[in-house]
């Protein structure tokens, strides 16, 4: 089969590799589409724990089961990219791994996964949309719903709109009946978010941007950036509010103003990926509200290098999908 193969730092090729063989409890999914995540870019750049070369990256995939136990044969599926969460809903166990390293990933014509990772592809989604859902949807759902417990009528701020998790969080927040606002460094992306239903947005590249917003106004803030901008998010949180963070693409905050946190009774929630229960709840929520993940661009497998380059530039609004 053909697959994206990473054989050294920033060495990406489309290679012919042996088709994967399922073991007990496993199935072969013949993929129709896969999607990229920041994780894939970091793996390509050699900046991820547990690297090994060569490897096939890719955590997101949708396709048809073509080998394995009878119950799933021929069914259209999406794949839960989080493996071996463990028994504790509060946190992943030490055996937790993510599809696409160390296990061979979805940027290939076929992938082998344990049958328990499968869910039926939501019928209202195209293959591209279905492939765009798993990792971003799971991460956004746990952050916003399981961890921050967003309630209807609350005001939510989502930083860095345009990224896959941020956009899923926006769509989930709107479906939950919240009033959603966004931040971005791009006026275009803010405008696109408003078209999706956001009430408005803030350009965080403007000096003192957070002063133009009223302080103390957001019940829930969803952030995947961290970095120097995190302090402004603390200022914008309503007293008693929750800030949920699922990443630090801008690095660590250079400080932490404790008094703002304790005096204003804030809660800061770390979150990453999600449990099998989060996964099941997310897929059901997407089906119930007929949510369609935003797909920014679709590339054929042969042009996977261009898909990676687009994500490296940060030019996308939504998920970058690879079609098999």
């Amino acid at each position: 089969m053909r697959a994206v193969r990473l054989s050294a730092v920033n060495r990406l090729e489309i290679a012919e590799v042996p088709a994967p063989v399922p073991a007990g409890g496993e199935v072969v999914v013949t993929l129709r589409a896969a999607a990229l995540n920041h994780r894939d870019v970091w793996i390509k750049a050699g900046q991820y724990a547990g690297l090994k070369w060569p490897c096939i990256p890719g955590s997101d995939g949708a396709g048809v089961v073509t080998s394995g136990e009878a119950g799933w044969l021929g069914r259209e599926v999406i794949i839960n990219p989080g493996f071996n969460w463990g028994a504790d809903e509060h946190r992943q166990g030490t055996d937790f791994t993510i599809l696409g390293l160390p296990m061979e990933g979805t940027l290939a014509e076929q992938v082998v996964v344990p049958q328990i990772q499968l869910a039926s592809k939501p019928a209202h989604l195209s293959w591209e949309e279905a492939a765009a859902l798993p990792l971003a949807g799971l991460t956004a759902y746990r952050a916003l719903m399981t961890r921050a417990k967003l309630q209807p009528g609350e005001r939510v701020l989502i930083s860095g709109i345009g990224g896959g998790v941020a956009l899923m969080a926006l769509q989930f927040a709107l479906a939950q009946g919240a009033e959603a606002w966004v931040t971005s460094g791009s006026a275009d992306k803010i405008a696109q978010a408003v078209e999706l239903g956001a009430r408005g947005g803030f350009d965080y590249t403007l000096p003192y941007w957070s002063k133009t917003a009223s302080p103390d106004q957001f019940n829930v803030i969803v952030d995947g950036a961290g970095g120097p901008g995190f302090e402004a998010l603390i200022d914008l949180a309503a007293p008693g509010g929750r800030i949920v963070n699922y990443g630090a693409t801008r690095g660590n905050p250079p400080g932490f103003t404790m008094r703002k946190v304790f005096w204003r009774q804030l809660t800061i929630l770390g979150s990453t990926m999600g449990s099998p229960a989060d996964w099941a709840a997310m897929v059901a929520f997407v089906e119930r509200h007929r949510i369609k993940p935003v797909v920014s661009e679709v590339f054929p497998l042969a042009q996977a290098a261009e898909a990676f380059a687009l994500m490296e530039r940060g030019g996308q609004f939504g998920k970058i999908v690879v079609r098999m």
Copy 2:
């Protein structure tokens, strides 16, 4: 009546002042004992928002109702030091104030407070113990129980043992059936905490003290210090654990390692004082478990300056009480 009067930065005197007069809904409590908090020291040093001179400090008091509406007359009471919390359990409202600034406080022979601030003095407590309870008990209860929701059998770490809130948190944690550990800069204080029931303690003045503890071991961490030591607390939190912070006596942490928080699914809970519901639950918990606040030293009102000096040195183990 006689009272501690602060008339300028670090100017403390025992003065004869007019006895307070109750308005509608208010009572006069003739105090038998009062207790100090860090807040009083900061007010004396001129380091507190909303300062006014002269003022009578003191948030903690226990005594007998000697004037006001009939229902409370003659009863032995303690005083909830948090006024006007408001309707939202998640956070205090903008009208929230603490007894002892701007309202005249308890370091006096009498104090006037709204009747709704009163609770019956728990029968198992001496006057000194009763005066030691309110502010520290309320703060510790909200932090440990309402916010961190400590469960029986969990492992809890309490930083800076010896302070009033930390000691109440230790006693509450033990009553809740948790396994409690402490930190201190003093081996003596750790030994005293172990006598109270702590399993053990760590001297945070030792370099790399937190490396001598196993990482990832505490389900709940209670901290009122912040500062450079906060990072070590993050390392000691179990994945999925909660760190509740109620103060920053050591200043702000100089950084914030976001990845440790999101990847390990930590929750950081800011907490301060407590609601009327927290107050009622705390008093009931203290009565049910017959908890006696630790009193470090008792001074007569005439020696209130020495009581402040002891707190300024940080030499206490438990509450510093002033007897009227």
